[in-house]
């Protein structure tokens, strides 16, 4: 099936040839998961046939809110695919069989998530939130809470939500004003308003389980005083079936630039003073508990960004192959015959840029999930090192892949010219929809602060050195392949500059210029993403280059192209090698200028006075 969602061959390259998931499946924990290629095949089929057709209609129709009934309606075309998604058992594929899951490695789950997000961001986005809520209850819930809520959430029968943000408490979560007052029966009376609640109300599920951050009356200000509560829409009866209507209502929905098919609600808790919530986990531990959910979501948002990039890239390739304009500038072609614009060097440049970021970003996301899998099958210090890599890479997966999705969807629009701007093609929708991923689950600014202060300096560079150690091994291996030695040297230079920059930042932290760090967080995350992708591309080159050589050897252009035209596998490796070489040999050169920028001693950002922005 021709698919313009995600390149399955590239997914298999990363899973099998790069990360060697087959070796992971030799651990007893994953021994029964050797059949993952079939799972991926079925995921692609499902995403193409069931999910993707709902997307354009979902965007066009959008979600509607009825102020009289306070009900939200999803587009009609969502019901069938949502049911089939749940029936397929996809939501809990990486969870323990004890909770109804199939225990797949998360790396495989990440590959499936990329396909499903690309298929229909709206539907899978709603479903994944439910999954995240189930994971929090699995980790922190009482036996009774697990019995009543968890399995239904893992099965997707009820919708789970994350209720953090309030009008005055966005990035500053500690400013939450929602209050919880103890009831005599041990439950709590919840009063407050939450905004930006994804899938807070709709007509696809019978019940909703809101995970609400609130402050028990009298508890301290700031994040330390926050506790996490389960607030069901319909309070389950003893048998666990939806019972009495709880006092939690959707009071309005947002009108947004994109994401029309996934509703964003304002939720009022206890407007009539009758909202009952149940403490989840420990009092005052709401933030760390919520972050259990948040970390998983941040990785997934990075995958969401990737899925938009992938979708835009494949559609751009398809469009430019079928749009004939102008003659070829290549001397061996007829200048007067119109060619598909994919043959024009400037269009190739855009496509190769997209390919390099998509395939690099995919390697980044899958590798991070792979680190989680490795942490789960190893022990002691080794497990700790894998876990440390997850900590370090999570903000980069989230922010770098989503920032790039905005750039890549823009490039895809550019490839299609005026048509790219029209809604007859998916490009403008992808650009509108992807932007929210730079804002979801902690804006990318917050991710950059997390990387700089918590993950890098707060960790005293320990995890950073684990990562550069891995880079060193790849650089050494690539250096042994003659045709890659030059690329290995470039990546070594970038890695060494990164190390020097990080040392410089660490020194700055204790100095008078410590404030400068706050102006450097986002540029640093961007740069660390650049260098991490360079390493991952070099790693991929060490696999693809020898395989390409096997297929085409050192043949000239004509003979080589004749082989590539016939041999799909050789053409794939040629594309991998070109993308890797373009990234390291060309795109990465920009990063050396970025290093210079980070080293700059003067800092107008810090010195700028707030009254001086406008006259």
């Amino acid at each position: 099936m021709a698919t313009l969602l995600v390149d399955k061959r590239d997914q298999m390259f990363i899973l099998k040839e790069m990360l060697d998931i087959d070796a992971l499946c030799r651990f007893p924990k994953y021994a029964s998961h050797t059949g993952y290629p079939m799972v991926l095949t079925e995921a692609h089929k499902f995403a193409n046939v069931e999910l993707h057709p709902a997307t354009a209609e979902g965007d066009r129709q959008g979600c509607t809110y009825d102020p009289k009934t306070r009900a939200v309606t999803f587009p009609d075309c969502f019901k069938g695919p949502y049911r089939k998604l749940l029936d397929g058992g996809w939501l809990a594929m990486c969870d323990s069989p004890e909770v109804g899951g199939d225990g797949f490695p998360l790396t495989v789950g990440t590959a499936v998530s990329e396909v499903f997000y690309a298929g229909c961001f709206y539907l899978y986005g709603a479903a994944e939130l439910t999954h995240a809520a189930a994971k929090v209850i699995e980790t922190y819930g009482s036996d009774e809470q697990k019995r009543i809520y968890m399995k239904r959430l893992f099965a997707g029968e009820w919708q789970g939500t994350m209720c953090l943000t309030e009008p005055q408490a966005g990035s500053d979560v500690g400013a939450v004003q929602t209050v919880a007052r103890p009831n005599a029966d041990g439950s709590y009376n919840i009063v407050g308003t939450k905004i930006f609640i994804t899938a807070g109300e709709h007509d696809l599920t019978d019940n909703f389980v809101h995970m609400v951050l609130a402050r028990i009356e009298g508890d301290p200000a700031g994040t330390r005083g926050l506790s996490l509560f389960i607030v069901p829409k319909f309070t389950p009866d003893a048998a666990g079936n939806p019972g009495a209507r709880n006092d939690v209502y959707c009071t309005g929905i947002e009108h947004k630039m994109g994401l029309h098919g996934l509703v964003t609600c304002t939720m009022a808790f206890g407007d009539s003073n009758g909202c009952t919530g149940y403490l989840l986990g420990e009092r005052g531990k709401g933030m760390p508990e919520m972050f259990h959910m948040m970390n998983e979501q941040r990785l997934l948002v990075g995958v969401e960004g990737l899925s938009f990039s992938s979708n835009a890239f494949l559609h751009a390739v398809d469009y430019t192959q079928n749009r004939f304009q102008g003659g070829s500038v290549y001397p061996d072609r007829d200048r007067n015959a119109p060619v598909a614009i994919i043959n024009h060097p400037d269009v190739k440049r855009m496509l190769l840029t997209m390919k390099a970021y998509v395939e690099g970003g995919r390697a980044l996301a899958y590798f991070t999930s792979y680190c989680i899998d490795q942490a789960g099958v190893t022990e002691g210090e080794e497990s700790g090192r894998w876990h440390g890599l997850v900590e370090l890479l999570t903000p980069i997966v989230k922010a770098y892949n989503t920032d790039k999705s905005w750039e890549i969807t823009a490039l895809a629009i550019q490839c299609a010219g005026g048509y790219g701007y029209c809604s007859d093609y998916p490009f403008e929708r992808l650009a509108r929809d992807c932007k929210v991923t730079t804002l979801f689950e902690g804006t990318n600014g917050i991710q950059a602060i997390d990387l700089m202060f918590r993950k890098l300096l707060g960790n005293k560079l320990v995890n950073f050195r684990t990562l550069t150690g891995k880079m060193d091994r790849t650089i050494a291996e690539a250096g042994r392949i003659e045709s890659l030695a030059g690329y290995a040297a470039t990546v070594r230079r970038a890695k060494e500059e990164l190390e020097a920059t990080v040392e410089g930042l660490a020194a700055l932290a204790g100095s008078e210029q410590g404030l400068d760090l706050y102006a450097k967080t986002a540029p640093f995350l961007d740069l660390m993403g650049d260098v991490t992708l360079a390493w991952l591309h070099l790693w991929q080159l060490t696999i693809a280059e020898p395989k390409l050589m096997e297929a085409v050897g050192a043949k000239g252009k004509g003979e080589r192209e004749a082989i590539l035209a016939k041999n799909k596998n050789a053409a794939f490796y040629y594309g991998k090698v070109m993308a890797g070489q373009f990234y390291i040999g060309t795109l990465l050169k920009n990063s050396f200028g970025k290093f210079e920028r980070l080293r700059a001693e003067e800092n107008p950002v810090i010195d700028m006075f707030e009254k001086s922005f406008v006259a």
Binding site: M1, A2, G35, M38, E42, G89, D102, K566, K568
Partner: protein
């Protein structure tokens, strides 16, 4: 009840086909494979029967090289109980008669109450195998089935005929049916069932032990369709265009005759 479902693995029809070196079939390198679409309807019909009568035993059979196991695993994941893989590296060289005789040879002593096949394969498209198996086993065979209802030992089947006509036939079991598109909606294998499928029995039988007959027909040569002339674009005002079009239709077609 014991049911046999015959399935074939075929290339994804959106593949770019190339001829093989001998020029008598397509080149199998670089192709993505799938279960023959018509066979998916057969598998689904079998699984629906088992859902109503859980003691039904469902067996899937496929002939071909190692890779056909992938199609069989899909059938197992959809709900078939066990698979029989007839190993044959050269199945593409066998004519429908030989393929049918291999299946009949396997089925002869297995006492199947019901045999389901696809109406035809998407690659060869001969639409003969199912009917031939029925003949060889002395079973009634009903082709191009778009409706299927079992009551006791009698099946009421709806057949698709030319021109949109349908025929309803009643057949006592044992019998064979070839399944046409639209008979049902083949299910997606659920993840838990994909996992379970790996533990299901998949027996291998070398084709030589079942092959008794010579081919009746040999594919000498396959070729691409001849390239046809490009379309004709008429230009001009609407009235003028209509005149030109009518003249062309009169001259080159039988529309106005």
């Amino acid at each position: 009840m014991k049911v046999l479902v015959c399935i074939k693995q075929v290339p994804d029809m959106e593949s770019r086909f190339k001829l093989n070196a001998a020029g008598n079939w397509y080149d199998t390198a670089d192709l993505a494979w799938r279960m023959n679409e018509y066979d998916e309807f057969a598998v689904e019909q079998a699984v629906l029967l088992k859902e109503k009568a859980p003691d039904t035993e469902l067996v899937a059979l496929s002939i071909g090289p190692e890779r056909v196991k992938e199609a069989m695993k899909k059938a197992l994941a959809m709900g078939i109980d066990r698979g029989v893989h007839v190993q044959d590296e050269a199945s593409f060289e066998k004519d429908p008669y030989q393929i049918a005789s291999v299946i009949a040879e396997y089925a002869r002593n297995e006492n199947f109450d019901l045999i389901l096949t696809g109406m035809q394969s998407q690659d060869r498209g001969s639409a003969q195998v199912g009917i031939l198996v029925g003949e060889m086993l002395g079973l009634p065979a009903v082709s191009t089935v778009v409706g299927f209802a079992l009551d006791g030992q009698v099946v009421t089947a709806k057949r698709e005929l030319e021109g949109g006509l349908k025929a309803v036939v009643k057949v006592g079991l044992p019998a064979l049916f070839t399944c046409q598109l639209g008979l049902n909606t083949p299910r997606y294998p659920t993840l838990p069932n994909i996992m379970k499928a790996k533990k299901k029995e998949l027996t291998a039988i070398p084709v030589a032990t079942l092959l008794k007959d010579e081919a009746l027909a040999v594919t000498e040569k396959v070729s691409y369709p001849e390239k046809r002339g490009s379309g004709l674009v008429l230009e001009g005002e609407i009235g003028e265009l209509t005149t030109k079009l009518v003249a062309l239709l009169k001259e080159k077609t039988s529309v106005f005759k």
